[in-house]
Structures are given as C-alpha cells and as structure tokens.
Symmetry: C2
Subunit: 251 residues, 2 copies
C-alpha cells in the first residue's frame, strides 16, 4: 500500500501546466458529461413522478437501464444526493427523497426573492424577438393545457420561465434560479392537478408578456410574485391530508 511513484519523471508541474494552456482559453464551458446525463434522466423520473418517494435506486439496475458502468451511475447518484433529490445511506444504497412542507416553504421563499430580482434587472426594453420567443412558448403551453398533455405543459412551462429569467443577463442568477426550481419540480404536479390552476398559470404568462411589451416592470414583478404562490400551498395541503398535520414548520 506504499506510494508507488509519485511523479515518474516526465510530467513535471511546469510542463503539465503548459499542456493545458491552449485548450483552457479556446474551448471554454461545455459539459457533455456522460454521468451527468444519467443524473438528468433520473432527476426527470423523480420530478415527473415516475419514481416515487422511498423508492430505492439500485446501482446495477441503473447500469442495465442506461447501458453504462457503475462508475457513471455512482457519480450520478452522488450528484443527485448533493442536489437533495435522493438520500444515500452508506453501504445501504440510495432512495428518492420527498420534501417536507418546511423545506418547500423555505425553497419557495428564496425562489421568490431571486425570480423577482431577475425580472427587476432585466434590461428594458426587451428586444422584440425575445418576446416573440416567449409568445411561441406560451402558445405551446396553452395548446398543451387545452389538450390536457401534462408532460408538455410541464416542459413548455419550464422553457417559458427559463427564457424569461434568462433575459436578466446575470449568469449566476440564472443558474441559481434554475437550480432552485429543479428542487421543487416534483411538487408542481400537485398544483397542476386542477384545470383551473393550469389556466390561471397560462393567463399569468400572458399578462407577463404584455407587461414585458409595455415595459411595465412593477407589474411584471408582482405577477412573478403571485405566480409562485399557489404551488407550495397546493403541495402543503396535499401533504397534510396525506400525512396528518405534523407540519413542524413555520417560516
């Protein structure tokens, strides 16, 4: 178990640095990570309800499913744990994790703060083609709502918001907003349960687009705020009905 050969001669530090010098500048950020895709797929399964809380995630099963080796699956699992979507117990494995009302409230409070910040710093006026993209996504979303295609509803809604917040120009903010949204994707299905909720969301989007066109920032802000409210409430209501009133949360 001794140290084999710390540096076998050739690759000194100076040389090694020089080795990566060019690519560092040239091809900047791009992550076609293999294991990352698996994490994404599993995350999707979880938030779309295809994998329910408490369900176990066996490494070998996932290997067979994704046609890869355990190294990548393990990697994905660790990442999902870090994101808080699954729980891992050493030597015992991983299982998908549910959210408590307390956590949901906390997350939504931060989401509201950051999404409001995003629309607050969007440079006005917004280019017409950007608004056009939002309108197209809105049409897609509306059609899905009308036809009852919940999966498309989910994804077009996601794209709408990503596009909207993407206008703010602060990459860190965009990333953080996205990250928080992901944490609670799963509970959206509680809010999407009723057709009225879906339609209200649809109308909110329409109003947002109009406010954006009219340059009415304050209206956009209050719309953003209001738009977030129903989801956590629907989830918490369902949670209490299911598990009793053991809330243990206040903030």
């Amino acid at each position: 178990m001794a140290v084999k050969s710390i540096k076998p001669g050739r690759g000194g530090v100076k040389v090694a640095e020089k080795a990566l010098d060019k690519p560092a500048d040239a091809c900047a950020a791009q992550a076609p990570a293999a294991a990352d895709l698996i994490a994404r797929r599993i995350e999707e399964d979880i938030v779309l309800g295809r994998r329910h809380p408490r369900e176990r995630l066996i490494e070998q099963d996932l290997c067979d499913l994704f046609q890869t080796h355990r190294g990548d699956v393990r990697l994905a699992l660790f990442e999902l744990e870090r994101k808080g979507l699954i729980e891992r117990i050493p030597n015992r494995g991983a299982m998908v994790r549910g959210l408590t009302p307390h956590e949901v409230r906390a997350i939504y409070a931060v989401r509201e703060e950051l999404e409001v910040m995003a629309v607050r710093i969007i440079p006005f006026p917004v280019a017409s083609h950007e608004i056009g993209r939002l309108e197209e996504l809105h049409r897609e979303h509306s059609a899905a709502v009308a036809s009852g295609d919940l999966l498309t509803v989910f994804y077009s809604n996601l794209s709408f918001h990503q596009t909207l917040f993407g206008l703010c120009g602060n990459s860190c903010l965009i990333e953080t907003v996205d990250q928080l949204a992901r944490k609670v994707h799963g509970i959206r299905f509680y809010a999407n349960a009723s057709p009225e909720s879906l339609d209200r969301a649809r109308l909110d989007h329409l109003k947002m687009i109009k406010a954006l066109r009219g340059g009415r920032r304050d209206e956009l802000i209050s719309l953003t705020r209001r738009h977030l409210r129903p989801s956590p409430e629907a989830y918490i209501k369902a949670y209490k009905q299911r598990f009793g009133k053991s809330d243990a949360a206040g903030a």
Copy 2:
C-alpha cells in the same frame, strides 16, 4: 455485455423498499461522504491560494496525497467542476479555474440580494446568547487581524457570517448563501491585502452586532450591503492590472 440478472429473485421491489424504511425516518441528513471530504480539502487549497489558477490536478497524485483510490478522487473532481472551481476537459484532465470580472460581478450581485434577504427575515429580537456567539467570533477575528494571521482572519470571518446568516431560519437560503460565498472565497485575498480593508471589515462586524442588539434592522441591511462591496472591486482592479482591460463584462 448482456444483462446478467436484473433481479435474481430475492430482492423484489416491495421488500427492497421496506428494507430502507426505518433508516429513512430515523437517521435523516448526515453526509460523512468520503469523497466529499477530498473535494472540501481541494476546494480549501484553491480558495486559499495554495493552488493557483491553471494548475493541473492529476488523479493519481491526489490519490497518493489523500491515501485513497481514484474512484473517490474522480468523484471529488466532478463535484468541484460542477461547483465551478475547476475546469475539466475530457481525456485531458482537470485544472483550477480563475474567475472573470464578469462572473465575479454576477455572483456578488446575487450574494447581495440573498444576504440582505437573510438579515431581513431574521426573527427579532435575537437571543442574547446568539449575539454572544457573534461577539466571540468577532473577538477572534479582531485578534487575528491585529496579529496579521490571515488564515485565521479568513476562517473567523467565515464563521461570523455563517453564524449571522444562520439566524434567518431558512435552510435553503442559508445553504445558497454559503454556496455562493464559497465560489468567491479565493478573491477575498485581494481584499485582504491591505490592512485598512481588514480593519474596515472588522469595524463593520462590530456595527452589525450593535445593530443586531439594538434591533435596528434597516441599519443591519445597509451594513450588509456595504460590507460586500469592496471585495469584488479589489479583485477586478487587480485583474485588470494583471491582464489588461479586456473586461467583457458590464452587469
């Protein structure tokens, strides 16, 4: 490459779920992850300047250093990439990554928003023993500043802010604030270069404690805001002197 044995009989889904049932409720959140510790150590090295930008991170070297196998090191490297501290190029390896002024500005803007949110929602009045803890950390920080012990300055400053924001009670917010702070730990050394900066930070902390004791929330908020400003400016100034004025950032 065929499927070996997807489920060899014994461990059915139902049984498997039941297997993890108890621990799920009992031992909740605790991550003594082996690989996570390595990531933490490397991160520390990076943000404390012990590893400078462009430096390569060789898996085998890290294995020898941390006395572990490549699996864990790989895991740590992927996590650090995800956090944005290092850059990984497929088949070529990892190297520590510097921040552009553009990124720094973006991160600090979000930090300001969230840290202000944190102090805004801290339940007042704050318990006396909590303020006592802050005072103790402040004393530690002051002593370190006086003696010029920059490492202790760094860590006691860190603890001070974690304790302060920890008062807000929103776990998601605490986590996100911490995460963003980590991204820019490295650039603090630019701000810490001058003794005046250190002393100003020290005085800020003192004022924060006083505002906290006096229940003057507005003052605490403006202090929090002001406290964040000098660091990015110092970094950007140093960056421009070093690399020229190729800023490419505005927000």
